[in-house]
């Protein structure tokens, strides 16, 4: 069903829910990485990176993307903002 029609009718759409649930399930099935492993991975990554550079731990996101049947782990790690006026 087209998006505008969905908004218009305001009907619950179980097919969309099926698709969203399947997306998550398939990522875990394909990679054997569950949410718990992801959290641990994130913690370890944060620790290692913080040794070398200053980052904002609370704004780090790590997610699994898939392109076709390829899985890709994507980490978005914003660096800590420096106030340049105070440096030097």
């Amino acid at each position: 069903m087209s998006d505008w029609l969905k908004k218009f009718t305001n009907q619950p759409n179980s097919a969309n829910e099926a698709k969203e649930r399947l997306k998550l399930v398939l990522i875990h099935d394909r990679t054997d990485i569950n949410p718990e492993v992801m959290e641990k991975l994130k913690d370890d990554l944060l620790k290692t990176i913080s040794h070398h550079i200053a980052i904002e731990p609370e704004s780090v996101t790590i997610s699994m993307l898939h392109e076709g049947r390829e899985q890709r782990l994507v980490a978005d790690i914003p660096l800590k903002h420096y106030d340049r006026s105070k440096v030097g």
Partner: protein, 263 residues
């Protein structure tokens, strides 16, 4: 001329593997091809009843593999097409009676006997599945547009990749166009996006399938059946023809459309 070996598999049971195998085989035979169907579901054979050949079984797949009969003796000729044969599965044995290398050897022998060998795989991801795909040149994965069938299809597709086989092609079976239209069933696009493989056909839900299985006469022999038409199209695509997808759009009358919009 040497046969192409096609294996029909799915992961999940009950999605229509045997129906697809029987119908693709009969449709190919209708086009004048020499076809051998092989039921690899040892212990749970069904291809014989779907084809209506259950009363003619003398020897089976395990008899051939264990050397109790010659290959030709286990090939049951179809009632309708002289060039269509079935090698039934054994009913009283289990999957471990046959190995993937037995299947490769059998596949090579069958290549000389036909243009097409269509293998019906058992459900699951174990030995029976591995037996069924071992000799395959091409693999067709059957799924239904529902969460569990798609999930299991994904597992199977991953295992086929790991075996370094040609990428499998997808049959989406038992599609209800009217449910898709009201947003209560995954449509073909959703399923293809999730599984990321090529489509070879969409088969609509069709009461003719149950009736045809009741009497052992595959639905492709039913001229008017939509599912039959879909399976005929799949067979033509296997032959290399470009056949457009069936238009499965649910034909609403104007008033139901209107009432749905304003509900």
């Amino acid at each position: 001329m040497t046969a192409k070996i096609i294996t029909v598999t799915s992961g999940k049971g009950g999605v229509g593997k045997t129906t697809a195998t029987a119908n693709i085989a009969v449709a190919l035979a209708q086009m004048g091809q020499r076809v051998v169907c092989l039921d690899a579901d040892i212990g749970l054979r069904n291809l014989d009843v779907v084809l209506g050949l259950e009363n003619r079984i003398v020897y089976d797949l395990v008899d051939v593999v264990e050397g109790r009969c010659r290959l030709k003796q286990a090939m049951i000729r179809d009632k309708r097409f002289d060039e269509l044969h079935l090698i039934p599965a054994a009913q009283t044995r289990d999957k471990n009676a046959v190995s993937p290398s037995d299947m490769m050897k059998l596949g090579d022998e069958l290549r000389e006997e036909a243009d097409w060998v269509i293998i019906d795989s058992p459900a699951g991801i174990e030995r029976g599945f591995r037996n069924a795909i071992a000799p395959a040149d091409e693999i067709l994965v059957v799924t239904n547009p529902d969460v569990s069938a798609v999930r299991d299809a994904d597992r199977i597709i991953g295992l086929i990749e790991a075996e370094q086989k040609e990428p499998a092609k997808l049959i989406i079976n038992r599609m209800h166009p009217e449910m898709v239209q009201r947003g209560d069933m995954l449509d073909a696009e959703d399923v293809l996006e999730l599984l990321a493989i090529k489509l070879i056909g969409i088969v609509p839900e069709d009461e003719h399938v149950t009736v045809s299985t009741n009497v052992g006469k595959p639905v492709v022999l039913e001229e008017k059946s939509m599912a039959g038409q879909a399976f005929r199209n799949i067979s033509r695509r296997l032959m290399g023809d470009e056949v457009p997808l069936l238009n499965l759009e649910f034909k609403d009358d104007f008033l139901t459309k209107l009432s749905r919009i304003f509900k």
